[in-house]
């Protein structure tokens, strides 16, 4: 778990009409991804139109929050405000719902979070950032399932 302090200075998202459904769901401890009702594809980050079929009929669907780490990095020298306390690990998680559907987060609650986590099965967990704003993070699943 990333240490939460009253002096937490991590950047928060500048939420817009386009991204509000994502962050609103996260505040309710749900992971929801923008989805095209025409071609039935998910996309992230959200966009005004579907990047697969150019369709305009988009909705938001809750996903399982389960996936697999496809990329990872342990950051030792941070250049982002609020991340002075290193190391921390960033991961790109391919969600189970669709190949190459990626969500980024930190790799948390692992016994060795500096170890490369690529290939690890993970699940979403919601952790507070600055001002209690929840962020979707990823932790290893039990028995790597």
């Amino acid at each position: 778990m990333i240490e939460q302090e009253t002096s937490d200075r991590r950047p928060l998202p500048a939420v817009t009409a386009l991204t509000a459904p994502y962050w609103d769901a996260v505040q309710q401890r749900r992971l929801a991804i923008q989805h095209c009702r025409h071609c039935d594809r998910f996309q992230h980050p959200p966009a005004p139109t579907c990047s697969t079929c150019r369709g305009t009929d988009l909705d938001w669907q809750q996903v399982s929050g389960l996936g697999r780490v496809v990329q990872s990095t342990t950051v030792w020298m941070a250049r982002i405000k609020g991340f002075e306390s290193t190391p921390y690990q960033c991961v790109a998680v391919e969600l189970d719902e669709q190949p190459s559907l990626l969500v980024l987060g930190n790799y948390v609650n692992s016994s060795d979070f500096t170890e490369c986590s690529i290939g690890r099965r993970v699940e979403v967990v919601f952790e507070p950032s600055r001002n209690g704003f929840l962020l979707p993070q990823f932790q290893p699943t039990k028995d790597n399932r």
Binding site: R10, P13, T73, V75, M77, R79, K81, L102, C116
Partner: protein, 400 residues
């Protein structure tokens, strides 16, 4: 029609310059024009990619030097063409200049790239609210070069982690390339690491920034500028300077997958496509090319570009390097001038200028003969990239 690059020049390149960026750009442009045997008043086209250095400001002449700034130094004559691109690389701008000259909308185009490294830590992300798509990265300690960039190392480390894991490689296998490359830079008087070779111990002891990237896998922020002069074939033939002929190019390094970051496959597929296009348009086969200037803002772009050229298979670049195949006299001499890792963060201008020098036969003291061809690759393959095949002889290029 044919297009030649007839002049190239550098300003002084240093960690922090005493002079402002405008002076550096004017110095580089002046050097390129002198090298070409041309005057400022001969120029009828201007092109640059006026990116700022991360979290720097946007004061013209200090942080960037755009086309208007230079046009205002040429008040006595009308220009016929300019290009200034907000996204991409200097490679895109050079490709645009080549196309403009090919089309006849410019006859003598001046193309420059200035880089200012403001004091403080380069590329810091110091805002409280992450705008645009950075809102899906910055809250997790990742930056990126798009909108309010900064902290890009973590984002660029991630595809490299995927490459190493997929092919069972180790980040330390970059050592032979990194050490040899700094040896190249040590003999390049323009390089920030001139006379500063790297030892095996330096390499293994280098601090990790964002695993698998260490400090020595990242180019160093510098103050400096480079410039080249692109001219129509008939002019190139008239000048005393030996032209580097542009016989093929491509500039389509764009991220086509909607995702918060790039996958290794996005980089590898784009890099292959960029190289294939430039080769096909030049009519030159990779088997004819013995020299390459490969963009190495992060070290791992070298294996990416190497594998894109098919001189080795996917995941085999470290074997190719370990076998000394990237050194002069072997299969493909790579970055004989020291690349960005040796010269500093000049965003692809080192590759452009040094590829020119190699086909001119002036890349280093005593270069035995001009290379018939040199492949230059500019940029990361998903954040704007371009490739060029330069030749020491004019050929009818098959651009388009």
């Amino acid at each position: 029609m044919s297009v030649g690059i007839v002049g190239a020049g550098w300003s002084l390149i240093s960690r922090r310059a005493d002079s402002c960026l405008a002076e550096l750009v004017l110095s580089a442009c002046g050097a390129a024009l002198t090298d070409a045997g041309l005057e400022w008043s001969d120029v009828d086209g201007l092109a640059t990619y006026p990116s700022t250095a991360g979290a720097g400001g946007s004061v013209e002449g200090i942080d960037t030097v755009g086309v208007e700034y230079i046009a205002q130094t040429l008040p006595t004559h009308q220009l016929s063409w300019y290009a200034s691109l907000e996204r991409g690389t200097i490679g895109h701008v050079l490709a645009a200049a080549v196309n403009a000259v090919e089309a006849g909308t410019s006859r003598i185009a001046l193309v420059w790239k200035g880089m200012h490294s403001p004091s403080g830590s380069y590329g810091e992300f110091q805002i409280d609210e992450a705008p645009g798509e950075s809102q899906f990265r910055a809250p997790f300690g990742m930056g990126g070069p798009y909108n309010a960039g900064g902290g890009a190392v973590a984002e660029f480390a991630m595809p490299y982690s995927q490459y190493l894991t997929r092919y069972g490689r180790d980040r330390l296998e970059m050592g032979p390339y990194a050490i040899h490359n700094r040896g190249n830079a040590a003999s390049n008087p323009h390089a920030i690491f001139f006379r500063k070779p790297l030892s095996e111990d330096d390499w293994t002891a280098s601090r990790l920034v964002s695993d698998p990237l260490s400090v020595l896998d990242c180019d160093m922020a510098v103050d400096g500028a480079g410039a080249v002069v692109v001219v129509a074939g008939d002019i190139a033939r008239r000048l005393s300077a030996r032209p580097a002929w542009v016989v093929g190019h491509s500039n389509v390094g764009i991220h086509r997958r909607r995702a918060p970051t790039m996958l290794w496959d996005d980089l590898a597929e784009n890099a292959s496509h960029l190289v294939d296009l430039a080769l096909a348009r030049s009519g030159v086969g990779m088997s004819d090319i013995r020299s390459a200037a490969l963009y190495d803002g992060f070290s791992y772009f070298v294996p990416m570009w190497l594998e894109a050229t098919n001189v080795c298979g996917p995941g085999e670049a470290f074997d190719f390097i370990a076998d000394a195949q990237t050194t002069v006299g072997n299969r493909l001499a790579v970055n004989v001038f020291g690349g960005n890792l040796g010269m500093g963060r000049l965003h692809g201008m080192p590759q452009i200028i040094e590829a020119i020098r190699q086909v001119q036969g002036s890349a280093w003291d005593g270069q035995p003969a001009a290379e018939p061809f040199c492949l230059a690759t500019v940029g990361s393959a998903t954040h704007g990239a371009a490739t060029f095949v330069l030749s020491n002889e004019a050929r009818s290029s098959r651009i388009g």
